[in-house]
Structures are given as structure tokens and as C-alpha cells.
Subunit: 324 residues, 2 copies
């Protein structure tokens, strides 16, 4: 094996598996083989994040293909880099797979990982394989940002913007839980979230004061941004960009679509606070350049907590909590 | 909450858990709260590694305390940094815990993580919590090295050195598997491996050409170093530094102690190739400064594979393979 396709490894079934993965990844892999990976110094500050996905908590193997499981776990982790306004360097992936899983499944999951990291210009830096009772995937993302964004910089007077459309992943999840195959659009939202790396960098450069990605849903993550920034957020739910697949599912469940979308987790869109100088024109240009819609949904005021209003009424919006 | 004890978080059971952990960690935690952590630029090259520990594969909750589970998972990951000759910056920890686990268990595991990273001068940078059927802990370590060591630099003519004593962890494991509580010494070797960070840095500075940590056992890891370096290793098993607790257990199993020790995994000692100019006197000084013994166990020659000899006889030595 050449250094480009990973250091030579010793014998053993685990290392055969690693060789298969390195072969599949091709130029989407860094120099895999050593226990450690070495990241050359670059410009900007290093940004790291780790995300754990567990079978039956975060995904089900009868809903998703192996490739989709790998893509989704990786895209979810990359979404944290997007919220930091960082460019992606690469990922380290730890994969625990059950002994009864098909032989090719771990390799296919890593193929999905490779697709997702390649889509944002990074590589698979390394990882670890283990046996486990259920599938577990931990993705650690590494990137760089000139000025890393946090949740904590929003000021009264800032306006709140959200990327893309919300609620699509929940629409798929609700369908599956009701025993119905989701529509193609909802399924796509759940299985192939697109990490907003390019958009996050542009928002950071455009003066964003705080950002967070919507993994726990707007109902949860808006609260985190408010708490970290020491401000109050006022969100107008009527202005929420609701995913096209939400209406039918929300009606089935008797929930107003913006509430369904605002309580849905794992859309991996960005919530950003930007000063009022960030205009509708600037948002339009940014949307055109990145292909991602940007919608103004509220504002930052003095105080604490989050107020969600729908047609003048205060609405309590829950977040998604894995321990709930 | 002050920035030093983590960004303010929103409401929810998961975030209450995180608050408890941040409180317990005290000054062993970085600024936890955002999804990403920011690592300031420093001197040297960034080194990263990820290690997944799974209940019943890597540890059992009836053998170890929660603190020991956290220490061991972290020390195992830090051992990869030691083999790279890197200093430790910090760790990101993803923890999946079963719903029926005692309320304090996740916090206690993170206490063990904090103890291990503090012992080598780093901090807990961040992490992720999830529910899971069985305990899973993924530890990603980040560090810096002036000249990161790999497995791949050994040359014919180099000599092979090993740190500490081998086989102690296997002695404990064998006892537990036989239904017997291990001796205090063997138990200590299994539950509290000491990451050889200081020693690894000194060996790198002292001219080491290749290093690897013994997680899969000498029988497995020597093969990796040989394969990556494109050389053959000749190991004299009679010179192996065998842990004091090995003799009794090896005798019970009818295995020669050096073979028992050489096939034992998870000692987390270092195997290093060093040029012949690295003298016994240099090794003695290094051992005195770091408090860790260094033993010469063989040499690097042209060819491939590993030859293990015991009193003149060639002995096939297996490694430890989680997929076997």
C-alpha cells in the first residue's frame, strides 16, 4: 500500500476491515493507519466538535441505508462547524458495529461518511472500529475559522435569521413512527441534511454575532443561544420557513405547521443573530451565492429566555431532548 | 454561570447533566457549552486521535468503578498521543449511557476522565451525551508535537525499547474471566494505565525513529510497526519486562510468562525504535527523570514481519483483535 492510501497495517480481521474502508474512500481519506492523525498548521484557529449517534436513539437501520447512516452522522457533526463559521479540515470516525451486521455494512457506512466530508472539501482523517451490541458512530470534526462564532455574542438590537426550511426531518420521523414510508422530500430532509459550511463562513464574515445549528429544534436551540448570550429572543413563528412536506403531516397530527416545524429536531439549519445593518439585500445575495434561503424570523432584546408568538399569541415551544 | 465553568445552557435534563459534569470537573474543564471547542494556535503540529470503548467489549461495569471506566478510556486514548511524542491539550468525550444506569454514573465517569486528562496537564474540551443500550465512551484527544512520531520511521540497525512492564492488564482480565477478583497490582494495571506522555516526548526528542503504544499487545502492535516501517523486527522474549502479577496467572494457565505478557493487550506502554546511539546510560537517565523503566527487547533488521524468540525457539505471538 502507498502512504496516500494509509500506512501499511499488520494482519487481522479488524485491519482487513480498515484496508477495505481506505480502499473505498480513495482520495477522500487522509493518511490512515497510525493511531494519531497529524493536522498541519494552517491559518485561523482550530475548531473541534464531537457528535455521538446511537442506533434506535438517532437512527434506525430499517429506515436508512448504510450510506445514509454515515452521511447523516457526519453531516450532523459538520453542522457544528458550520455554526462556528469554520471551514472543514476533516473527521475522525469511531464506529461500533454489531457482530450480526452484514459484512459490507461498516464499509458502506464509512462510504457515506466519505461522501459527506468530501461534499464540504475535507477528508476522513482517521478513526476507530469496535464491536458493539448496537450501532454507534462518533464523528469528531476538525476545522479552522478566522474568527470562530459562538452562541454567546448576540446583542439587543440584532435580528434573527434562519437558513433553509424547517420541519422536514420531523415530518419523516413522524411518518416512520406511524408506520408509513415518508414522502421523498421528507425522507431526503432526514437522510441527507446538508451541512451549511459555506453559508456559515459567509454569515461569520458578514458580521454575525452568534450562531447555533438547529439539532435540538428551534424550540431548544433558541433557548441555548439566548442563555449563552444573556439576552431574550423574540421569534415570530408565522415567519418561519416551513418545509414543504410539513403541512400534510402536521395536519394529520392536528398541530399548526410552524409549531410542528419549530419543535422538530435535526434539521441542521443555522440560527444566526446579525446586526440590523445586515439587510434583506445582503441576505438575498448570500442566498444566491450559496443556494440556501435565509429568512428573518425575529429579534434580540434585553432580558432572558425566548418568546415564540404565532399570530399574536404566546406559544410554548419545546425542544428535542434525548434524555426526556 | 461564569464563562470559566462553561457557557450558559438552556433548560432540559441533558443540560442539567452537563451542568453537573462541568461543576464536578472544576478547573479540569475548558469552556464547555458551545457545540464546538476552540483550540488556540500553539507551537508545533496538531495531533488528534479517537478511541471508542464499549461495555462488555472493553470493560464491564461489575469489574470497574465509574471513575475507573472514565480514567481507563481516557488513558487509552492519551496513550496514542504519547506514542506520537505529543503533549496533551485536551479531550472531547462522547458518552452514551443506559437509561437504567444510576443517576450519578455519567457524572462519575466524567470525573475519571477529568482525573486522567489533568494528570497529563490537559483539560476536558467538550463532548456529547446520549442515551444508549450499553455504555459507550468515545474519547478524542488533541495535542501538539514539534515532530510527530509515526509507526513508519524505523530503520534496520535501530534497537527496540519498551516502557514499563507488560502483561499486568491481561493478568487482571484473566482473573475476572475465571471468576476471581484480581490481585491489587493486576487490578491497578488494568484500571489505571498511566499515559506515557512525558516519556513519549523525551523519546521523540532523544531520536526515536518510530513509536507505537501497546494497546493490541506486543504480538499485534510490533507487527503494525514492522509493516508501517517496511522492516523486520526481532524480539527476544526472554528480555521482556514482565509485570510482577503475571507469573502466578500464567502458571495457572500453563503459559510461559513472557508469552502471556507479549500476547496481553491494553498495557498502554510504548514500543519505540531508537538508533544504536541511544545508550543504556541515556535510557537510565530517561527512566530516572520520568519514573518509567525502559528495557531493550530487540532490534530492527531488513525484511518484513516480526520474529519472536524465547530461548532460541521461534514463538508465534498473537495480537488482540476485537473482531476475532
Amino acid at each position: 500500500m502507498t502512504p496516500a492510501s494509509g500506512s501499511a497495517l499488520g494482519e487481522g480481521a479488524e485491519f482487513d476491515r480498515i484496508r477495505e474502508i481506505v480502499k473505498l474512500l480513495g482520495n477522500r481519506a487522509g493518511s490512515i493507519g497510525d493511531d494519531c492523525v497529524v493536522v498541519p498548521d494552517g491559518s485561523g484557529t482550530l475548531v473541534l466538535s464531537s457528535d455521538l449517534s446511537v442506533e434506535r436513539i438517532h437512527f434506525r437501520t430499517d429506515w436508512l441505508t448504510w450510506r445514509e447512516i454515515g452521511w447523516r452522522a457526519t453531516a450532523g457533526a459538520l453542522s457544528d462547524l458550520a455554526a462556528a463559521g469554520a471551514a472543514a479540515t476533516g473527521v475522525l470516525v469511531s464506529l461500533g458495529s454489531p457482530p450480526e451486521a452484514p459484512g459490507e455494512s461498516a464499509v458502506e457506512v464509512m462510504g457515506g461518511v466519505g461522501d459527506a466530508i468530501a461534499a464540504v472539501g475535507g477528508v476522513v482523517l482517521g478513526g476507530d472500529l469496535s464491536r458493539a451490541t448496537e450501532w454507534v458512530i462518533n464523528v469528531t470534526v476538525a476545522g479552522r475559522a478566522a474568527r470562530p462564532m459562538m452562541r454567546s455574542g448576540a446583542h439587543p438590537g440584532d435580528q434573527l435569521w434562519v437558513s433553509g426550511q424547517l420541519g422536514g426531518a420531523r415530518a419523516a420521523l413522524s411518518s416512520w413512527l406511524a408506520g408509513v414510508e415518508p414522502s421523498a422530500g421528507a425522507r431526503q430532509a432526514f437522510t441527507h441534511p446538508l451541512p451549511r459550511i459555506a453559508l456559515g463562513r459567509r454569515l461569520a464574515a458578514g458580521g454575525a454575532t452568534a450562531m447555533i445549528d438547529l439539532s435540538d429544534g428551534l424550540g431548544g436551540d433558541a433557548g441555548h443561544l439566548a442563555a449563552a448570550s444573556g439576552c431574550r429572543l423574540e421569534v415570530d413563528l408565522a415567519s418561519l420557513p416551513v418545509h414543504a412536506e410539513v403541512a400534510a403531516q402536521a395536519e394529520r397530527e392536528g398541530i399548526a405547521p410552524p409549531i410542528f416545524a419549530g419543535q422538530g429536531g435535526e434539521d441542521y439549519e443555522l440560527l444566526a443573530a446579525l446586526p440590523p445593518s445586515f439587510s434583506d439585500q445582503a441576505a438575498g445575495r448570500l442566498a444566491q451565492d450559496t443556494g440556501v434561503a435565509l429568512t428573518r424570523i425575529g429579534r434580540v432584546v434585553a432580558g432572558h429566555g425566548v418568546s415564540f408568538r404565532l399570530h399574536g399569541e404566546e406559544v410554548p415551544l419545546r425542544g428535542y431532548d434525548h434524555f426526556a
